[in-house]
């Protein structure tokens, strides 16, 4: 009998939808380790890893000794230097919590579209004064010579990377020319070990710069 209860999958889906897949995975792994031990983290990985490869990767990182994600917002700030607007695709809250308060006068907007059912009002309300919502149909109004498009990537391998599926609805030849730069922020490090379900493959060539973990 699993110690996680029968509804842990839907609990992770709730968390992943609103916190971001990687941030939710770190939360689950940390809380499970606090409740039990690394043995319980391994059990969580066995239970959910195949369904959620990002969680599998994070659990593997934890079991290898890491206790927190590498959040290097300095390099993201450098990549966005001089921009007046950053449009963010996908919400990885552990990373946004660190980045947004440090952005100074640069405005940030989050594209409110995702794979899971998400209360976007609440996501944005967690960053009072730092983040505005923008929907999929109107994000291009924020494009311009001083605008940066930022998304989170889940590992890289060769010329490929993995991104939130929303990215494929955003990115295109027209969009590439409308923004000053397209920045990817790698929140995972290495490529996912398992087939990367919930994220999709994209070309690294789409990005002006990828900040690697």
């Amino acid at each position: 009998m699993s110690r996680f209860g029968p509804t842990v999958v839907q609990a992770f889906e709730v968390a992943a939808g609103e916190l971001g897949m990687c941030s939710a995975a770190w939360l689950f792994v940390r809380e499970v380790a606090r409740e039990g031990s690394d043995e319980l983290v391994a059990e969580l990985r066995d239970l959910l890893g195949r369904s959620f490869p990002v969680l599998d990767a994070v659990a593997a990182t934890w079991l290898a000794g890491a206790r927190a994600p590498v959040v290097d917002s300095d390099r993201v700030l450098q990549a966005c230097a001089g921009a007046s607007q950053v449009v963010i695709v996908g919400a990885e809250t552990l990373f946004l919590d660190d980045l947004l308060p440090r952005m100074g006068t640069t405005r940030a907007a989050l594209v409110t579209h995702g794979t899971f059912a998400v209360d976007w009002d609440r996501v944005v309300a967690n960053y009072p004064g730092y983040l505005d919502p923008v929907d999929l149909s109107s994000f291009q109004r924020l494009a311009g010579r001083r605008s940066v498009l930022l998304t989170f990537v889940y590992g890289t391998q060769g010329e490929s990377t993995w991104v939130d599926p929303t990215w494929l609805r955003i990115m295109g030849p027209d969009v590439r020319t409308q923004f000053r730069s397209i920045v990817g922020w790698d929140v995972l490090g290495g490529a996912p070990y398992l087939y990367p379900r919930w994220v999709v493959e994209a070309s690294l060539a789409d990005f002006s710069e990828v900040i690697r973990a």
């Binding site: 209860g5 842990v8 968390a15 916190l19 409740e35 309300a125």
Partner: protein, 448 residues
């Protein structure tokens, strides 16, 4: 009996039944009914449309719109979401505490603001908590059912909580403080009785899987989801100051001053909106519940036409001339009010029955009649999921939340899931309402 004394009540009854049977067309039903009532009144010389519209209690409409704005201001402050998140944390993921704490919180909130908006903001957070914890159909039915009944009781506890009480205040049949003192205690007793019954007899949490890891994860996720959500104090403070000011004025300003509760509401809400002009203007432009206003205006129009025909007076005379003691007449009236509300919902029942209640209040202590009526309407509102507007909304939000039990089976909150809760709540509230009204009659006789 004249044609009009049959025709006008028939229009009212058919319209109220039609809107209950065809909720998707309820505005069309009541608008058509109101127009028909005006036509019949004009044709049979009961009154012109101008005269009938002059009988509509516009002060009640002002109160409803004003109090709706108060709720919207508080919604903009995020206070309801923060409250729900705090309760989730305080409950420690304990299913019994979740049921009790959310019910008590919704009772208190509904006593002060429109429970529909509050529920719209609180329920999604509760549903996320239930989704994270993993619950059963039985638990969902009793928890959400208790929450809805608590909303109804909170709405009946104060003169500004819900439409029936607002109508009593607006029509001037009871003062703010008289209603509050008389109605709050029995609603509190009814809530306690319901929660005790659910806690000790129903025990909906029985059989739920209780894994410490799952509870820990659920609470950690809830904390993270609301980690930076704060009450907007720039909005909250002026709104709270204005609400407190309105409460003080309602209690202290005498009716003889000419400043009625509707004007106090108008001035108080106006002041609150002026303090935050940008948001205030947006609220005034976009947040008037046009559907509710049109529905009530149409209802009041029909009721005014029926009243002019003298039917309510005849019904009241019939009731008071029954060869039974006045207390039995009161009990019959209150039970009928509860049952009719269950079938036709609170708005239509209260609007029509208040006219009869006013005749009963001539022979019986008015407080006993009016508070008994408010409690009976509250009992009826709690009988079926469709009897109160918050029921279908809770049903829709639960569908949208896509809750599932341990076996992956979808969890629902529909009409039949609510029936056991509704029957228990109806019995408790109606019983307490009748007993309390009789107690007030007894006290009135002793002191008189």
């Amino acid at each position: 009996m004249s044609s009009t004394t049959l025709l006008l009540p028939a229009i009212l009854i058919v319209t109220v039944a039609a809107q209950a049977l065809l909720p998707a067309y309820r505005l069309l039903c009541v608008s058509a009914g109101a127009a028909a009532a005006c036509l019949v009144s004009a044709a049979f010389g009961v009154g012109t449309t101008r005269q009938i519209l002059a009988d509509v209690p516009w002060d009640v409409i002002v109160l409803l719109i004003g109090l709706g704005f108060v709720t919207e201001i508080f919604a903009a402050t995020r206070v309801f979401g923060v409250l729900a998140a705090r309760i989730s944390r305080w409950s420690r993921g304990e299913p019994r505490l979740i049921l009790v704490m959310f019910s008590v919180a919704m009772y208190l909130v509904s006593a002060l603001v429109n429970n529909l908006t509050a529920l719209l903001l609180v329920l999604p957070i509760l549903l996320i908590l239930l989704k994270l914890l993993g619950v059963s159909q039985r638990y969902v039915s009793w928890t959400l059912g208790s929450l809805l009944v608590a909303c109804n009781l909170g709405g009946a506890a104060t003169p500004i909580g819900d439409f029936p009480a607002i109508l009593l205040l607006g029509r001037g049949v009871m003062t703010f403080s008289d209603y509050l003192v008389a109605a709050a205690p029995p609603t509190l007793v009814a809530l306690a009785a319901l929660l005790l019954f659910v806690h000790f007899r129903v025990r909906p949490e029985r059989g739920l899987p209780r894994e410490p890891v799952a509870t820990r994860l659920s609470l950690a996720v809830m904390d993270r989801l609301h980690r930076g959500v704060r009450i907007d104090l720039k909005l909250f403070v002026p709104a709270a100051v204005c609400l407190v000011g309105m409460l003080v004025a309602w209690v202290t300003v005498p009716a003889s001053s000419g400043v009625g509760p509707e004007l106090i509401c108008w001035l108080g809400v106006g002041a609150a909106l002026m303090v935050m002009p940008r948001i205030g203007e947006r609220i005034v432009r976009t947040k008037v519940d046009v559907e509710a206003v049109l529905f009530l205006v149409a209802l009041f129009t029909m009721v005014a036409a029926v009243k002019r025909s003298g039917v309510f007076e005849a019904v009241a005379n019939g009731l008071t001339s029954l060869a039974v003691p006045p207390t039995v007449q009161l009990v019959l009236f209150l039970f009928l009010a509860g049952a009719l509300t269950g079938l036709f919902s609170a708005g239509p029942s209260m609007a029509a029955l208040l006219e009869v209640a006013q005749a009963l209040a001539v022979h019986l202590p008015p407080t006993a009649v009016y508070v008994g009526l408010a409690l009976s309407v509250c009992a009826g509102s709690s009988l079926f999921l469709t009897a109160a507007t918050s029921g279908p909304m809770a049903q829709m939000l639960t569908e949208r939340a896509d809750l599932r039990d341990a076996n992956g089976k979808p969890l629902r909150f529909g009409f039949f899931h609510f029936v056991p809760v509704g029957v228990v709540a109806f019995a408790i509230i109606q019983g307490i309402g009748i007993a309390y009204a009789l107690l007030l009659v007894g006290v009135g006789e002793l002191s008189g």
